[in-house]
Symmetry: C2
Subunit: 242 residues, 2 copies
């Protein structure tokens, strides 16, 4: 039974964390909203789960995963579900909790990255909150990026399984998500992120090693990887970087 | 072995979600940072886990829970750990995932509530971002509160276990957290929240029923419940409400 991933079809956004896990594991999955409406896919198929009164566990928003009778929303919860099934998390409760905690902290950085271009609210265009965005992005650039990266660096340094992974000695979904976070930061804030990453060499090394993972590399080179753009979470507005 | 909860000693903040679960279950726990430094407690005991190089799983920030050898940070992950141990989540994987997904969505609202008074960043005082806060709070009041509450209302309406609980027919940590969210919204945005809650009667009824839960009521009336204040996540700045 293939996994059905539901997310906005034109951006990486929060759906990319689940997509990377599915791709890295070579899982059989359907990217539903990017499929053909004629075949029962496309955005209407996704909106059904959000809007229909018949859905018992309606997601608040995409991304969400449908797998048989299971519907699970929230990117971190999707990975909590997928992790053991895709072999992307350790077997012990301690490993699973720690991996999830790392994922939730990555989700916090992602939310803050989104706030840099939408500090007033998601209901307004960037152009209508540009002044506020300039202030917010400065704080994110000068304080937050380095604080978060320093923490992930210390996690890698302390991992008894070696600094090549966040948890244990094997690839986990948290590694994939940290790769994606670094990708996004480098896209949106190339100057500030390169500076900060110089002080987080293990994070950078993990990023590079994930990029070379056979199935991840094939995915990144494929058309299934949507390029970053200015509708997503990580947006390159040069005026916000320095 | 008592649970050790670590959180800033003068605010409810994100620590309150774990505290409510511990209190509702009548669990044996120590609120470490509120204890005496002379007895090895207080804020220094909390900072040890954040700052010491010897901690293998350092939390990024409070709240975190220490239980024997387990250290778990991120309020939603703490509840993922505590839920089964305190009898505050169903036994099936489906129930556990759905409860967690609800918790993560509550965490999203909490983060947005914090953004209303800190839209530019946590490193600055409210007074230095008041202009931005006025815009952000307006968006939160007029669009976000009602959207989130409508979603929780629909979750309650669809629960096959009855609208008295979010999941199944028994109290879960998500019920406790939704109670806390409503408490916080009513404190910070009394006018806007009362208006929105009129359209979410099941949410309001769940809030009221949690407040009457025997152990919760005893906790709320005790000195262990820190009053809301303007250092926490939910702050009453009258200029931000309408």
């Amino acid at each position: 039974m293939p996994y059905e991933l539901h997310y906005w079809p034109t951006i990486q956004g929060r759906g990319e964390f689940a997509r990377l896990a599915l791709e890295a594991a070579g899982a059989d999955y359907i990217d539903v909203a990017r499929g053909c409406e004629g075949e029962g896919q496309g955005v209407p198929a996704t909106m059904h789960f959000i809007e229909s009164d018949e859905v018992q566990h309606p997601p608040f928003a995409p991304p969400f995963l449908v797998h048989g009778k299971v519907i699970v929303g929230q990117s971190a919860a999707i990975l909590l579900y997928l992790g053991p099934r895709l072999g992307l998390v350790g077997k012990s409760e301690t490993a699973r909790l720690w991996t999830h905690q790392l994922q939730l902290t990555i989700a916090d950085v992602v939310a803050e990255a989104h706030e840099t271009h939408h500090p007033v609210g998601t209901g307004l265009y960037y152009e209508d909150q540009k002044k506020e965005a300039l202030r917010r992005a400065k704080e994110f650039r000068t304080a937050r990026i380095k604080k978060f990266l320093a923490w992930f660096e210390s996690v890698l340094e302390r991992n008894p399984g070696g600094s090549g992974h966040l948890v244990g000695a094997r690839l986990s979904y948290a590694d994939l998500s940290l790769f994606q976070l670094v990708e996004g930061l480098l896209y949106a804030f190339p100057k500030a992120s390169r500076r900060a990453l110089k002080k987080a060499p293990q994070v950078m090394a993990l990023h590079d090693s994930v990029a070379q993972h056979k199935r991840v590399a094939a995915y990144l080179a494929s058309e299934r990887r949507i390029p970053f753009n200015e509708d997503g979470i990580f947006r390159r507005y040069p005026e916000l970087d320095a």
